[in-house]
Structure formats: C-alpha cells, structure tokens
Amino acid sequence: MIDGVGNYVAGTLVVIGALFALTASIGLLRLPDIYTRMHAASKAGTVGSCLMLIGLAVHIGESATALRALAGVLFLLLTAPISAHLLAKAAYSAGYRMWGGSVSDDLGATVHSAKKNDPLVTDR
C-alpha cells in the first residue's frame, strides 16, 4: 500500500465506522420496541464494524492479514442478518408484542393458524 494515502483512507474509514457504531447504540437506547431496535443493531452496527475491519485491512497492506480482515467482513455480513432474522422470529413466536404505535401487522392474522403445525409450540 502507498504509505501516505493508505493512512488517510484507513483513518477516515475507522472514524466513520466508529460513528456508525455509536449511532447504532444510541438507536438501541432510543427506539421503542425490540423489532425497531433490531433495525439499528443489524444495519448500523454491522456497517460500523465492517468499515473498521476494512480500515484495518487497508492499513496493514500485507496480503494474508488483509485478506483475513476481509474474510471477517464477509463473515459479519453473512451472519448479522441471520441472527437478526432468527431473533425477530423467536421474539414474535414467543409472543412479544410490537410497540403501540405500529401501524400494521400482517403476520398476526396468519400466525395463529400456523401455530398448530409448529413443532416448537406444543401444549404440553
């Protein structure tokens, strides 16, 4: 990597990433219910960590370690939506309700008929 430019790019990426992480955690505190908080955590949080890892990759410049950092980015991008999706599904099926200001709930109408077939929700 070119010494001068690499430093500036890496520094900028790291600062932007840290600011995204900060906004994600502010969102985690301010948003009203679990589903909206998940938006903040899964988007801004992931982008923040990814930008910081990319900044590290740019700064290192040695191919093996940089590739490892990029593999970390890829891994984060693959797993973040899966865990968010799973947690949302789990919270919904366990009966955590949405915030009172929510405007529509298409899933609510179907979930009761579906529950009979769900092996996890049995009347034991």
Binding site: A10, A18, S49, G72, L87, A90
Partner: protein, 104 residues
C-alpha cells in the same frame, strides 16, 4: 500533519466513540426490559467489540488481533443463535415479562 499522526488521531477518536457506545449498549443490557432486548444488546456488544479489536490492531500494528476478531464473531453468532432457539422453544415467558414491565 503527517499520515501517521492523522491515523493515530483517528484511532484515538474511534476508541473514544466505541467506548461510549459500549456504555450505551450495556445500559440497554441492564435495562432490558425483555429477554430478546438483552440478547440483541449482547449481539450488538459483540459487533462493537469486533470493531474495537480492529481499531486496537490498527493502532498497535499487532496483526494477530484480526484472528481474535474473527473468532469472537463466530462465538457471538453461535451464542445469539442459541439464545434465539431458547426464546423460541418457550424458555421465556413474554406475558409475565410484559406485566412486570407495565408495573415498573
């Protein structure tokens, strides 16, 4: 200002911002109010920690930190999945928790 000085300043700023977000996330873990909220906050804590390790690695130039970040990502993902399965299989009582939330 030289590139190295700029980078050092950026890293210090980022470490400060990440520390504040650590604190905010921990407030959410303590406050709850429900179990999924805490799980989400712990997941977020892992993501922020990965960023923290990345900045630390950048500042010290110690490249082994990258492997630690990846391993932490793996463990955090598995923990979130396990917690989600726990909530889904009826380990948490949503009605009771919401009643407690209304009381407080």
């Amino acid at each position: 200002m030289t590139g190295a000085a700029f980078l050092n300043m950026c890293a210090n700023f980022a470490l400060g911002a990440i520390t504040i977000s650590f604190l905010l996330v921990v407030v959410r873990v303590v406050k709850g109010p429900s179990l999924p909220d805490r799980i989400l906050a712990l997941d977020m804590l892992v993501a922020v920690a990965i960023g923290f390790i990345a900045v630390l690695g950048l500042r010290t130039g110690f490249t082994l930190y990258v492997d630690i970040a990846i391993a932490l990502g793996l463990v955090g993902f598995l923990a979130t999945v396990a917690f989600a399965r726990f909530v889904m299989s009826g380990g948490a009582d949503a009605k009771k928790e919401e009643a407690q939330e209304e009381q407080s």
